[in-house]
Symmetry: C2
């Protein structure tokens, strides 16, 4: 009987592992609680109404159609019984495995302020992105009909917490949406008067980049009208806004991009975890004490040459490919490869429509050149041809016209104070 390999999670890591196992003599089961793989680096463009959900997602079954040894299961995992070698699903079923790959990713963390989650938007799933889109477009619609100056000011204010790439991209895309696409469309309010505040606790945004690029990104954001506040710790978040560095900011929406925590795989295994909850793994990505259980991507804490590897898509993809090949080799009886080594091709963050900062193999790029590099890389990375086509068309079109094709507001909650709540399956 072929080995049973279970992969939990259809993100970059899980899909890469399944692809690497495609020719292995194994029964592979990929479990995810949604039916689709998401190209997360472009999710902020769905929030900003520039792309449609289908442009950046692909059905897991379609992606793995040619993997004849792979079964896709849409289900939610409740835990792992490591001794019995079984995955427990939350409907009570148990799935036996010979080897297990945990690729469950990370969720947003509010640093112990769980009540903030009710009042702030995050950006992990398609539903999250559509909720942000509805909140932003809905605020302009309400502002158009508002006569109270204080409430009008609030409705045109958007606060983003966290100056990493996601926060920078969200702040840039909202500022640009207001200043270009929406600018001509309202009779009573001028969307260009919208205020976008980016709050970062540290002393600079994009702290993972070279200080010169941080400064360049800051200038680019400011030229789009974003107020960048560094050294500003959030004290409270409520439905009407937030308090940051002692100052009250009334806002139509607070977007949280400040910190993530790994999903609970470590507790499933009773394994040692890093501070963010990620499972500490061995150099072959296996969990200490469980040579047949692997953790990859954001749910794993892998010690690289300069500390733990960051929670980035390329890390997850490379680890998925590595572990898939490692297992395929063990099944085939070939010797193990050496330990996993991360190849860092660089990192990028986009500011608005045509600027970016990038560090690629020691090179530091900024402005339009960096944006071109970013566009090329992301087009190449997109997971299937279908996505590439649609994204390309949408992009070209909105680039030339400043229009936003996907400017739809569905599931809109008409009550002013209320945050639209789409039916959310994933955190």
């Amino acid at each position: 009987m072929p080995e049973r390999i279970v992969i939990v999670g259809a993100g970059f890591g899980g899909i890469a592992a399944a692809q690497a196992l495609r020719h292995a003599d194994a029964q592979v089961t990929l479990i995810d609680r949604t039916n689709h793989h998401l190209f997360q680096p472009l999710l902020y463009q769905v929030a900003g109404a520039a792309l449609s959900p289908a442009d950046i997602a692909a059905a897991n079954r379609a992606l793995l159609r040619r993997n004849r040894n792979t079964r896709v299961l849409m289900a939610e995992v409740a835990g792992v019984d490591a001794a019995a070698k079984q995955v427990r699903l939350n409907d009570g079923r148990r799935l036996p495995f010979d080897r297990l790959i945990l690729a469950t990713g990370a969720a947003y963390s509010f640093f112990g302020h769980d009540d903030w989650a009710e009042h702030a938007f995050v950006l992990k799933s398609i539903d999250d992105a559509l909720a942000i889109r509805a909140a932003v477009l809905g605020a302009f619609e309400r502002a158009e009909q508002c006569d109270d100056p204080a409430e009008l000011r609030r409705l045109l204010t958007f606060a983003v917490v966290g100056g990493g790439p996601t926060g920078v991209e969200l702040a840039g895309t909202i500022a640009e949406l207001a200043r270009t696409t929406l600018a001509r469309d309202f009779a009573h309010v001028d969307p260009r008067g919208a205020r976008v505040v980016l709050c970062e606790m540290g002393d600079r945004i994009l702290a993972g980049f070279d200080p010169a690029l941080s400064a360049s990104a800051r200038r680019a954001l400011e030229s789009l009208g974003v107020e960048v506040r560094t050294g500003a710790a959030v004290e409270t978040i409520d439905d009407g806004g937030l308090t940051v560095g002692g100052e009250r900011i009334d806002a139509a929406a607070v977007l949280w991009a400040a910190g993530t925590a790994a999903r609970p795989a470590a507790t499933w295994l009773d394994a040692a975890a890093a501070r963010n909850g990620a499972v500490k793994v061995r150099p072959d990505c296996s969990v200490p004490g469980h040579p047949d259980i692997f953790a990859i991507g954001d749910v794993a804490s892998f010690q690289g040459d300069d500390g733990p590897l960051p929670g980035l898509a390329p890390v997850a993809k490379q680890q998925g490919k590595y572990v898939g090949r490692l297992i395929a080799g063990r099944i085939a009886g070939t010797p193990d490869p050496g330990p996993f080594r991360y190849r860092d091709y660089g990192s990028m963050a986009v500011i608005g429509r045509s600027r970016a900062v990038a560090e690629i193999g020691g090179m530091k790029l900024k402005g339009f050149v960096a944006w071109l590099a970013w566009s090329l890389v992301h087009l190449m990375l997109l997971v299937d041809f279908r996505s590439r086509v649609a994204v390309y068309v949408n992009w070209s079109w909105s680039w030339f016209t400043y229009g936003r094709g996907a400017r739809l507001l569905t599931g809109y909650a008409p009550d002013p104070g209320e945050k639209p709540k789409p039916p959310v399956l994933e955190g």
Copy 2:
């Protein structure tokens, strides 16, 4: 002071009226409870996962950007005070008007069985379409994991009630989704075994068409595997399926396309209404006794040469254009045109990927030729260039690959019996 003209509803009628008033010396206000105009004839393709919402919708503000005399208001209308010439919004505000155009459309009607609404899906809004998509794709996902033969049979059964164009299009698109796109993607179930039942109370489907075309459409549906039941009246609908003509059919989803009723404009005005609730209007589309209040499209009952005009997009568009011009002429002081006359360019219904039936100016078309005609007409009709591009790309792609680009399942309710309920603003 220029005349104040209020248009309620941004469907085909309301948008056409606003466009016809573009150069009038007037203050036009278009009110809709969503922010977008919807190309309803293609909505079933969103339900069938072939198109994305943004492909068939456009923001009202973007559509009317060049209408400098027009203000767009996202709000819900609660009633009309005809004596005071005011529209009442449901937040208590009142909007004065000199002339009013009611274009509020129709909603699905369950013929007095309002409890069926809880258990059946309808197809009027984007949220409706996404709910159908989630129910159908979710049923296959659950079937893949189901061991109980009776439940498995239920999960692969879909019932469509109503043999008009919408019912025919829905049944065709679901049957084809199962037999082509999904066919290769499941390990345990064969989606080609899915059962799609189309129930029509009358003695033939597409009763508005020539009997020969009805018969052709029936054969086309049957060749896709759809069971067509005519003379079959629905007796009950519940969460597990429906009873029709004395027979119980357990189904994963029941889709209701059997009858509509006008939205409540007639009661707002205390005006005479047809049996479906539509306001009976005079030959100039005005409401009897209210020469400055007009009703157009599905919310109006207009007596044509052969009885009341049908609830079709071309009727609404032509009436919108007529009333817009009529009012513009009155403002400019030119003589009124003659009474409204509907120009019937024909009607069409699509069966699956490459067949249709059409009656165009006395010509009867069927099969691929009819489908080509249908495609051309619908591409031409699409409201803005952006939509045309994206639909064309998506279509071409899925036509050649049998793939469905938009196969996303968001907001999926994992509980078997439960109908996914997206946050619905419109009925």
